[in-house]
């Protein structure tokens, strides 16, 4: 005598079987979450219902420290806001202070800043591009990217003595002038580096497996990208031609010619992971273009303006924006006339990208979550600060 099977095969789910929501934990220690990020994934088999980000594992209270150490003393901490491309963070803080106090930066100082920032951008995009490759299962592009990053580290080390956390900029300019012969060596490096970008393109960008893994994954429309406050390459990947360097000009950027690459949906849908990846590859070329112009046309003069050691700006609040490697970085600083700021708030690109993941992950495969994180180029300290 057989027992009746107590499962109604047509109760739920496309396969006819009742399925149960599964909760998976990803992180905070995970080899492909780009630092300490944690996701609680609610999955139905291989398909995610949603991935809930849990952040704060690298919250180092940088904003509170700013209130304790004063304006000059905060500069080394800005390096650690985004250690992958620290130069632009330096610049953001310096610009916020300069705006509070109304300080004019000498033109050579602005050029030095541009040179340092653009080298930082290349180094950061190299990590991003290489890590995307590694997250998709290809180790080789990562070693190529790290190899080139080492050379850029050498150049920046020559400039400011550090490989990662530069502390190069000062309120009113830069700490040091370019060392003798720097421009010549930097251009020689660019001559060697630029052909290598084509090599990367051949190695991974047009690799069929790689394209299949990224194209059509998690497309973001322009309207959604804007309402989520996605910035930088993530916004441009969705086809919005907006770059703070061009649209809200600062520093010496108006003096240079460069294009703002945007995603075109060349291998799939507009705003998919592949578009965001390709925007970064193209931005590396544009950075090289800016660097050549800056290194050749650098004017003579001092690099730093005279700024009193006890820096006490007038009471007020400023919000400045710089185009960091992960996009529009907003520095909000409030002064009350003393030597210590009342409040510093840093709005970063990764923060917005991380907030978008919960919505973005609905209906994706679990394996694609890694592609989404990599293509949004999320760096943990920027999210948590």
């Amino acid at each position: 005598m057989s027992h009746a099977i107590d499962i109604d095969l047509h109760r739920e789910g496309p396969g006819g079987l009742e399925t149960e929501e599964m909760t998976l934990n990803m992180g905070p220690q995970h080899p492909s979450t780009h630092g300490v990020l944690r996701f609680v994934v609610k999955a139905d088999g291989e398909v995610m219902r949603r991935a809930i980000p849990d952040i704060g594992y690298l919250h180092r209270s940088i904003e509170k420290i700013a209130e304790k150490v004063g304006y000059h003393g905060f500069m080394p901490y800005t390096d650690r806001v985004d250690y992958v491309s620290a130069m632009q963070c330096n610049q953001g803080w310096a610009m916020a202070c300069e705006k509070l106090a109304g300080i004019e930066v000498p033109r050579r100082g602005e050029y030095c800043r541009v040179i340092a920032s653009e080298f930082g951008r290349i180094a950061s995009h190299l990590i991003s591009v290489g890590a995307t490759g590694m997250d998709m299962g290809a180790i080789t592009p990562f070693t190529h990217a790290i190899r080139e990053r080492e050379y850029i580290n050498d150049i920046l080390e020559e400039l400011c003595g550090a490989r990662l956390t530069f502390n190069y900029m000062r309120i009113g300019g830069c700490a040091w002038d370019l060392p003798p012969g720097f421009a010549k060596r930097a251009i020689a490096y660019l001559d060697r580096f630029e052909p290598l970008i084509d090599e990367y393109d051949e190695l991974i960008s047009f690799n069929k497996i790689y394209v299949e893994r990224l194209a059509n994954v998690a497309p973001i429309t322009a309207e959604r990208a804007i309402s989520w406050n996605l910035v930088g390459p993530n916004l441009r990947g969705s086809g919005v031609r907006y770059d703070v360097r061009r649209d809200v000009p600062y520093s010496a950027y108006p003096e240079f010619e460069f294009d703002v690459p945007v995603g075109t949906g060349e291998r799939g849908t507009l705003g998919d992971c592949y578009d965001r990846y390709m925007v970064r590859m193209r931005e590396i070329r544009q950075s090289c273009r800016i660097l050549r112009q800056a290194l050749e046309g650098i004017p003579a003069g001092p690099v730093v303006a005279k700024v009193p050691r006890t820096f006490k700006p007038a009471p007020g609040a400023v919000h400045v924006r710089v185009e960091a490697s992960r996009g529009d970085m907003g520095w909000f600083a409030v002064s009350d006339g003393t030597a210590f700021p009342v409040r510093v708030h840093i709005r970063t690109g990764s923060y917005a990208a991380m907030a978008a993941i919960e919505e973005l992950s609905k209906g994706l495969m679990i394996a694609d979550l890694v592609a989404v994180i990599a293509s949004l180029d999320i760096v943990a300290p920027e999210v948590d600060r």
Binding site: P28, Q29, H30, P31, G35, V36, G56, Y57, L58, H59, R60, S61, I62, K64, I65, K68, V69, P76, Y77, D79, R80, Y83, V84, I127, T143, I146, R147, R149, E150, N153, R163, L164, T165, A380, P381
Partner: protein, 166 residues
């Protein structure tokens, strides 16, 4: 009669402890545990220029197969509890390197309210590498120091008080 003349040249005589330690120190697999800034330098130490692979150290993704945990970067209080859990998941014998000022003593972030000032409050540490962040050469030096420490361990001979040396 000398022992050397009785065995062929292909045979090496050594102590069991030395052999064990030599093989252990030559395959120190470290866990990918990049917490903060130092994590990038750790990646570059494993990269093509510094190539930590030369010393038998290759990155592993999970604590279950790792011998070494390199705590590279700022340890926040929220992360400290997880770090302890990860360390406990590693099989014995296990080693730990504290990389960078933040992991050593809190470093720049001693002023912070959310940072654990030193990873040694949570797990035992074998080697401290100073720097903010340490250069790849410094981390390599730290690994060599750890290897020297491993080479001196005694596994078969027990100490007089009965506790295993290690």
């Amino acid at each position: 009669m000398s022992l050397i003349n009785t065995v062929p040249e292909t045979v090496v005589t050594t102590k069991v402890d030395d052999l064990l330690n030599w093989s252990r120190k030559s395959s120190v697999w470290y866990m990918l545990f990049g917490l903060a800034c130092c994590g990038i330098e750790m990646m570059q130490t494993g990269g093509p220029r510094s190539d930590l692979d030369r010393f038998g150290a290759v990155p592993r993704a999970t604590p279950r197969v790792s011998d070494l945990i390199i705590v590279s970067g700022t340890l926040t209080l929220k992360m400290a509890l997880r770090t302890k859990l990860l360390y406990e998941q590693m099989p014995e014998p296990r080693y730990s390197i504290s990389m960078g000022s933040c992991a050593n003593c809190g470093g720049l972030f001693q002023l912070a309210y959310s940072v654990c000032d030193g990873v040694d409050k949570v797990i035992p540490i074998d080697v401290y590498v100073p720097g903010c962040p340490p250069r790849p050469e410094a981390l390599t030096e730290g690994l060599l120091k750890l290897q020297a420490k491993i080479q001196q361990e005694r596994w078969l001979v027990r100490k007089p008080d009965g506790a295993a040396a290690a």
